[in-house]
Symmetry: C2
Subunit: 385 residues, 2 copies
Amino acid sequence: MSAVLVTGIGELVTNDPGRGAPLGLVGSAALVAEGDRIAWVGPAAAAPAADRALDLAGRAVLPGFVDSHSHLVFAGDRAAEFAARMSGQPYDGGGIAATVAATRAATDAELRALLAARVAELAAQGTTTVEIKSGYGLDVEDEARLLRLAGEVTSETTYLGAHVVPAGRSREDYLRLVTGRMLAACAPLARWVDVFCEPASSHAFDQDEARAVLAAGRAAGLLPRVHANQLSAGPGVRLAVDVGAASADHCTYLAPADVDALAGSDTVATLLPGVEFSTRSPYPDARRLLDAGATVALATDCNPGTCFSSSMPFVVALAVREMGMTPAEAVSAATTGGARALRRPDIGVLRPGSRADLAVLDAPSYLHLAYRPGVPIARRLVLDG
Amino acid sequence: MSAVLVTGIGELVTNDPGRGAPLGLVGSAALVAEGDRIAWVGPAAAAPAADRALDLAGRAVLPGFVDSHSHLVFAGDRAAEFAARMSGQPYDGGGIAATVAATRAATDAELRALLAARVAELAAQGTTTVEIKSGYGLDVEDEARLLRLAGEVTSETTYLGAHVVPAGRSREDYLRLVTGRMLAACAPLARWVDVFCEPASSHAFDQDEARAVLAAGRAAGLLPRVHANQLSAGPGVRLAVDVGAASADHCTYLAPADVDALAGSDTVATLLPGVEFSTRSPYPDARRLLDAGATVALATDCNPGTCFSSSMPFVVALAVREMGMTPAEAVSAATTGGARALRRPDIGVLRPGSRADLAVLDAPSYLHLAYRPGVPIARRLVLDG
C-alpha cells in the first residue's frame, strides 16, 4: 500500500474539533494518504516523506462533500413541469408519478448508465459520498431493482417505498405492501428506511402511517430517516426525533416545538435549499436551528421534480445567501453534517484513520464556495492511480 | 476555409425572429459553420454535406452567452470582505480601493495570467463574448494598462476611469483627469465609456459629473454605457436614456419614470442578479421592465467585490427564480439581449452570416439552464482545430 503526500495545500479544512474553530483549519498544510485512509495531517513544514507527492499549488482542500439525501436512480426528466411551476403552478408531490412511469419503463442498463453519469457529475463537483433512495419503483420488483442499482455505487442506500401512494391503489393496500412483501424484498438491499411524512399532501403519508413504515423497517434491520415538514409544519420532525431517526430532512416549515425537539436530540436537521430554490418556496430557518443547538446538514435532494441540482457548492452558496449561515457553518454542514446524518464517523473529517475522501478547490479558501456562486471550482481529488 | 457540419442537436436556440417564439427553436437540428461564421441552420433531415461532421448526440445548442458587463482585469480577491458582508456589513463601493491597490501592484504578466484564467473559466461555462472594463487603475498609466490587457482578449473594452474617486484625491481634480489626460490615453484602447452614476455613494459620481464623463468620452469617439441605479433610484437610468447609452446596467432600484424611459428607448436594461445574490440586495423588477416593453440583458458583473461569479448559467437560473423571468426570456436576455447591449448584430443569434459562437449543453433543452441550477452543464463549443 503506497503512501501519497499532498503538498501545497493553501488551506486545509479538517473538521477536526481538536484543531479549533472554524473548521479545524490548517494553513499551508500537507497530508499523507495510505490506500483509502488518511495517515497524517499537519503543517507543510512538518510533513513526512512518502512514496509519491502531489503539489496543489496553493489550492484549498476539504473533506469531500457528503450528500446525504438524493434520488439518483430514475429515468426521464420533468423540465416542462419545472417551467410550468416557474409560471406559478404549485407543487404537491403529484408529479412523482411521471418519473415512476419512466423509471419502470427503463431497462437496468439504461438506469445504470444514467446513474453512472450522475455519480460522475457529483464527483466532478466535489462530492465523495452520496446517499441514494429508491421511491420511483413503487412495486416490489422495481423498488428492489432501484436499490440493487443504487447499491452498485454507494453503501448508503435507502428504502423509500413510502415515497407516495401510487395512483389507483388504496392507501391500506399499499401500506400493507410497503411494510410487508416490498420491505422483505428491499431490506437486504438497503441500510436505511425513509418515509415522506406529509399530511398536507394526499400523495404522501400521515403520522400514523409513517410511524408504521419506520417501525416495520426497523424490525427488518433498517435505520430510520424521514422526509419531514417539507410542505407544512406537520408531525414529521417530531416523529423523526421520537423514533430516534438519524435525520429529519427538508424542515422547511418548523414550529418552535420542532426546533426544540431537534435541538434536544441526535436527529440531524438536513436542509435541502436547492428544493426551495427550484420550487420558489420559503427557505428553512437554519439560523434558528443552529442557535438552538441542533446539528444541521446540507444536501442536494437531487431529483427530477423539485431540485435537479447535484451541486453541493450551489447548496453551500444558497445556505449563506438565503439561510443566514456563515460560510464556515455551511461548509461544516455539507461535510461533517452530512456524515452525522449518515452516522458515519469515518467521513466528513480529515484526520489519521478517516477516509481519504477529498475535495480540492480552484481557489485559495473554502470561503470561495460561497464567494463564487455557480462557478465550478470544486472537484473530487483522486489520489490513487 | 473548411465547413463543419454539426449534427445531433436535440434542440437549437437560434434567436432568429423569423423562426418564431420562443427563441427561434429548431428541434432535431443541424448547422454548418465555415470558418468563424454560420453558413446554414435548419432541421437535421435537410442538412447539406460538409468537409467534417460533429455529432452532439441530442444535446442542446444555443448562441454562446454574451456577458456584456464584467471587470475581469484585477489582482487580489476580497473573500474576507464578502464573508463580513454576509455577517451584515453594508456595501457602498468603498472596498474597490483594496482591488485598486492590489491591481496597481501586479505586473503585466501577473494580470495577463489572471485574465487568461478567467476568460478560460467563462468559456468553460458557455460564454463566447465578454465585455471588460477598466476601473481598477484610477491613474493614467494603470487605466491604460488595464485596457491594453483587456484588448488582448476582447474587442469589447470599456473605459471606466470614472469607477470611483480614488482615496485622497479631490473630486474636481480627479474628474479633470478622467475627462482629460486619462481619457486621451485610454480612448484609443477602448470602444465604450462608462461611469458609476450613484449619488448615494460618496465614492461614485452624481448626475452632472456622470454627464460630463460621458460627453467627454463621446467627444473622444467612445460610445456610452452607465452603471445606473445600483444603490438607489437615482438619476442614472434617465441619464443613460437621455444620452442614448447602449445600456443602463444594474437597474436594482427603479422608479416608474425609469421603467418608462427604458421602454421608450433603445437603451438596454442590463440586469446583474449575481450582484444582488452576493450582496443580499433586493432583485431588479425584470417582470415590470419586460411587461413595459424594455429590452433586458443579463450579465455577470464578474468582479472581486460585489459578485465574483463568472457563470452565465447561474445568472439565468437566478433570473428565473428571483426575477419572474421565464426560462426563454432569461436565455434570450443572456444571449441576444447582451448582444443588443453591445450593439452587436453579429452575435447572440444563429443564422447564416452570424458568428459561429456556440454553447452546447449536457442536456436536451435550454430549460435545463434554470432546471439544473449550479450544475456545470454549459460549455463553449469549439469547432475549429
